[in-house]
């Protein structure tokens, strides 16, 4: 049984997506989707436990042996990200039914669940597969689903945002495809482990550089690394709140995973850096993203957009971790990848609750909410503290490792910039908190978010605190993933 889990992880949501249409009522579809997500989460837990106890798992699709057939490989890194993505999906979908109520007409809701599951399939597929062309396929599956999810937003701008992302995302995917096309031409293989062995023997270094360049740019577009982030703010601002929550917590993280997997695991960081200055570029872009995006976030009046820019800044942190170039730096990136998913998930879910109650995500809508929606706002405050990096929250742990990595490499300037960035995040987050707890003119009575949204929010908030105190899972898994990627041969 356990040996079939890698493929089941992906196939289960893939099959569940069309199966949704068996049901008629949106509510039953939602329940069915919840079940599917829960099962998917269960599989990822089983995989994670298996990998950490026994070791990596490999699965040959259709029984074709590795270099010829498609191989699914689950090692410590992929099981870690699978766990994250499926956990986020399972929590977020809990809140979906309530949150969609006022945002999407009932007859469109089935489409949301189908797209959600397809998007999840794509994201899990990217992580699980060990074949670069298969990665492209899943990248497209998740991207297409994402475009449609964004287009479901109730404002008309949602269509424009989706179209914008469609163009940019397609360019990114094309870059990626061209890159792997070059690699295939040079090595004659698409299997990741096979590829990493054959790349060493390639003699046309310039062609190799071109191939790497295409792949890196393509992924950077999908992960919204500054200056390729243009699509993200609109997409996050206009998608249905619950879709934003899921995308913010998982989609960019998976792109980052893909980058780490290819850069460290397949190409080898040294090989790439000998041809292209990727780590320096990541360090610089990361630093600029941290500062610039944080400053822009401060100027936003729409909280969703504010958090979207904050996400771009946080992706900057992860890029800095990669740019530092040490094992510790990579570990910091992986930790932040995990922790930030919970932070942003909680923040966006809190905003989703506000949208549910007030119909707006403008910052003025938050005035006095601390008294009308005490639990939602308490969750928002805790998640904000985690984003700032206050001790005993998850955000502190990732910041700790990032700073430690920079100090270890003697990059004191980076230390300073990283921390100034999180100082700026205090400014924009506190704008919300302050408004929420100031007295509003109209004395509206208590009007808390629906219970399921609250539960989902608080699961994420508690996860933030839990992973800030008990770091064994995150630190252990990220340490072993970073160590295998940098020191050991890929897989």
């Amino acid at each position: 049984m356990i040996s079939h889990l890698p493929i089941l992880q992906v196939v289960l949501p893939l099959l569940a997506a069309p199966a949704c249409l068996i049901f008629v009522r949106a509510r039953s579809i939602w329940l069915f989707t919840c079940l599917a997500c829960l099962l998917t989460f269960g599989i990822s837990v089983a995989l994670f436990l298996h990998v950490s106890d026994v070791g990596p798992l490999s699965y040959e699709v259709g029984g074709w042996p590795a270099p010829w057939g498609i191989e699914y490989t689950i090692d410590s890194l992929s099981s870690y990200v699978l766990l994250l993505v499926s956990a986020i999906a399972a929590v977020v979908i809990l809140a979906a039914n309530s949150s969609l109520g006022p945002e999407l007409p009932e007859r469109q809701q089935p489409a949301f669940y189908v797209l959600f599951l397809l998007c999840l399939t794509g994201l899990l597929g990217i992580v699980a597969t060990g074949d670069v062309f298969n990665v492209f396929v899943f990248l497209e599956v998740s991207s297409l689903a994402t475009y449609a999810l964004i287009a479901l937003g109730r404002q008309r701008q949602a269509l424009w945002a989706a179209y914008q992302y469609l163009i940019v995302g397609t360019i990114g995917a094309s870059f990626f495809l061209v890159g792997i096309g070059f690699l295939y031409a040079l090595t004659g293989t698409l299997n990741m482990s096979d590829l990493s062995e054959r790349l060493v023997e390639v003699e046309q270094q310039q062609l190799l550089a071109v191939a790497f360049g295409f792949v890196v740019v393509g992924i950077a577009l999908k992960m919204a690394l500054l200056p390729l982030h243009g699509w993200l703010p609109n997409a996050y601002a206009f998608a249905p709140s619950i879709a934003t929550t899921f995308l913010a917590a998982s989609a960019t993280k998976v792109s980052l995973y893909l980058f780490i997997r290819l850069y460290y695991g397949v190409f080898g960081a040294e090989t790439v850096d000998a041809l292209l200055p990727v780590s320096i570029v990541f360090l610089l872009l990361g630093i600029i993203a941290v500062l610039a995006a944080s400053l822009v976030a401060f100027r936003q009046s729409d909280v969703k957009r504010m958090l979207a820019f904050s996400s771009i800044a946080q992706i900057g942190y992860m890029a800095v971790g990669i740019g530092v170039g040490s094992t510790l730096g990579l570990q910091a990136s992986l930790l932040h990848l995990f922790n930030h998913a919970f932070i942003k998930g909680a923040l966006f879910l809190a905003v989703a609750s506000v949208v549910y109650r007030t119909g707006s995500s403008q910052i003025d809508a938050f005035r006095g909410l601390g008294y009308r929606m005490p639990w939602t706002m308490a969750g928002l405050v805790l998640a904000s503290l985690s984003l700032i990096g206050v001790p005993l929250t998850a955000g502190f742990v990732s910041k700790w490792f990032l700073v430690l990595a920079a100090i270890e490499s003697g990059l004191w300037v980076v230390v300073l910039i990283v921390l100034v960035g999180s100082f700026i995040s205090l400014f924009y987050l506190w704008k919300i908190v302050e408004l929420a707890y100031s007295k509003s003119d109209s004395e509206a009575s208590r009007n808390e978010a629906p219970p399921l949204m609250l539960i989902a929010l608080w699961v994420l908030v508690i996860a933030n605190i839990y992973f800030g105190i008990d770091t064994r899972l995150t630190v252990g898994a990220s340490a072993s993933a970073a160590a295998t990627l940098i020191e050991g041969a890929p897989w």
Binding site: K399, E408, F423, K439, T471
Partner: protein, 493 residues
């Protein structure tokens, strides 16, 4: 014995949290609600006192609770300095609650439940900070103090209060994120531990440049110590109700800052390492400059609370200076000044609040002749002033004595002169207030009927001012008097 001591130690942190629950439960019954605060404060003080009696024999009490990362744990340990701080804070909590009952009711403040609840929460964080075993634990409680006191600073909810709160939060969280955090992580990187260890944690192999950078980061990162130019939050925080200014900004918050600096200097760097750093002199002069500047600014303030705030900035500089000088006398002086300044300054703040409640006056220039109407308050103000200046017969004399001795031990004559000049400035901006209240010179403008502050507040004022005098006569009442430095300064590495 040890188990009892460990329980007491944990109880010291948890008791105020229990009070938070009690305060929230009895939010509809103001009398019971305040009784909860008072009783908890009294119990807390006895607990800390018991703890003191337990460890006076020298038994080491420590306990680990949570391990965040390997080697990085949430742990508590009883140390002389921490115990002194905990004793003062818990005693003054009781006194301040007493004062606050009078003040808050006379002033008809809103949201009193929230006020008392966050007050208790902040006290829990102070207790945790005082009993921290390592820098990491201390850092957590340090941040909790900031977050717990923010709602107190913005209590009024007005635009001015929010603005003050914003700058409070930005300065305190900002310095701790940008400077304190990397200093802590750097210490962890170079020393491999964050445990407070007598004699310091850094080995011979750590480059002096790195140590200098770390020290600089610590001095500026501990924003609560209000080292210039990061002192601006303190005057900004004066928008808080007076009891908050009194306890939190004369005792708990600012003393948490200088306490942190003292712990860092003594237990992380160690006196020997510290005095061997080439850059230490520049830091000392910088702080000395801050002491003088703050005194000069204080002289120009007409708002009484603002003047007291800048006076605090200046006096905190004394403590930081003593910590960085790191001679046995200067450290003793710093520790004593934590206590003496606490009692002196809280008296002054209590008086300022009493004047506000009774006569609605906030400016120094309006206080002339007030001694006729509020003799007890103004007399207490005079005693408090003496203690801040460091004149007999008040306790403040002892701490300044040791601090001056400390500058001599390190051959820092310039610093000694600075301290003396600053004391003269203290006289110039504090003493006239008390004197002119009783001897207005020209006949004072006959104001409307002004009476003394409410009785509970008056009791608190008299108590703290009497303590100022008592500590002059019997300074050995303070735990470990003359003994703070035992096993700290000259400990083998």
């Amino acid at each position: 014995m040890v188990i009892l001591a460990e329980t007491l130690m944990l109880a010291a942190v948890l008791l105020p949290l229990l009070a938070v629950v009690g305060i929230l439960l009895f939010r509809r019954y103001p009398n019971i609600r305040e009784a909860v605060s008072l009783v908890t404060a009294a119990v807390l003080f006895s607990v800390v006192l018991l703890l003191y009696l337990q460890v006076i024999g020298g038994a080491a009490v420590r306990a680990d609770y949570l391990t965040i990362l390997p080697g990085l744990s949430l742990s508590l340990e009883v140390r002389p300095l921490g115990l002194l701080f905990a004793l003062i804070a818990s005693l003054l909590w009781f006194v301040t609650i007493l004062y606050a009952i009078g003040y808050m009711r006379a002033h008809e403040e809103e949201n009193q439940t929230r006020f008392y609840a966050f007050f208790a929460f902040a006290l829990a964080a102070v207790m945790g900070l005082a009993l921290s075993e390592n820098l990491f634990t201390l850092f957590i409680f340090y941040e909790l103090i900031t977050l717990g006191t923010y709602p107190l600073v913005t209590h009024a909810g007005s635009e001015k209060a929010l603005k003050g709160g914003r700058s409070y939060l930005r300065f305190l969280l900002g310095t701790s994120i940008v400077f304190f955090l990397p200093a802590m992580i750097g210490t962890w990187f170079y020393a491999g531990t964050l445990s407070f260890t007598p004699g310091g944690v850094f080995g011979e192999e750590v480059p002096p440049l790195a140590l200098s950078i770390l020290l600089l980061l610590f001095v500026f990162g501990v924003g609560k110590a209000a080292v210039m130019p990061f002192h601006r939050w303190l005057p900004a925080a004066m928008v808080a109700p007076t009891p908050v200014s009194a306890l939190l900004h004369a005792v708990a918050v600012v003393k948490a800052g200088v306490f942190t600096l003292l712990m860092v200097c003594i237990y992380l760097f160690g006196a020997n390492t510290l005095s061997s750093l080439a850059t230490i002199d520049y830091l000392l002069y910088l702080i000395a400059f801050g002491i003088l500047m703050a005194s000069i600014i204080a002289m120009q303030q007409d708002n009484l609370k603002a003047r007291l705030a800048y006076s605090t900035v200046s006096q905190l500089g004394y403590i930081s200076l003593g910590a960085l000088l790191a001679s046995s006398s200067s450290i003793a002086g710093s520790a004593l000044h934590i206590a003496m300044h606490a009692f002196g300054k809280i008296t002054l703040f209590f008086c300022a609040g009493a004047i506000l409640v009774a006569s609605h006056k906030t400016c120094v220039s309006e206080l002339r002749g007030l001694g006729r109407q509020m003799p007890v308050t103004m007399a207490a103000f005079f005693v408090g002033s003496l203690s801040i200046i460091g004149l007999p017969p008040t306790g403040g004399m002892w701490s300044k004595w040791y601090l001056l001795l400390g500058t001599l031990e390190r051959d820092q004559l310039v610093l000694m002169v600075v301290l003396l000049i600053s004391s003269l400035l203290n006289i110039a901006y504090l003493l006239p207030i008390g004197v002119k209240a009783f001897f207005p010179g020209e006949p004072a403008v006959a104001s409307v009927e002004v009476k003394e502050a409410p009785l509970p507040s008056l009791i608190a004022i008299v108590f703290t001012s009497v303590v100022c005098v008592v500590l002059f006569l019997w300074p050995q009442l303070l735990p470990f008097f003359g003994d703070f430095t035992q096993g700290i300064v000259d400990a083998p590495r």
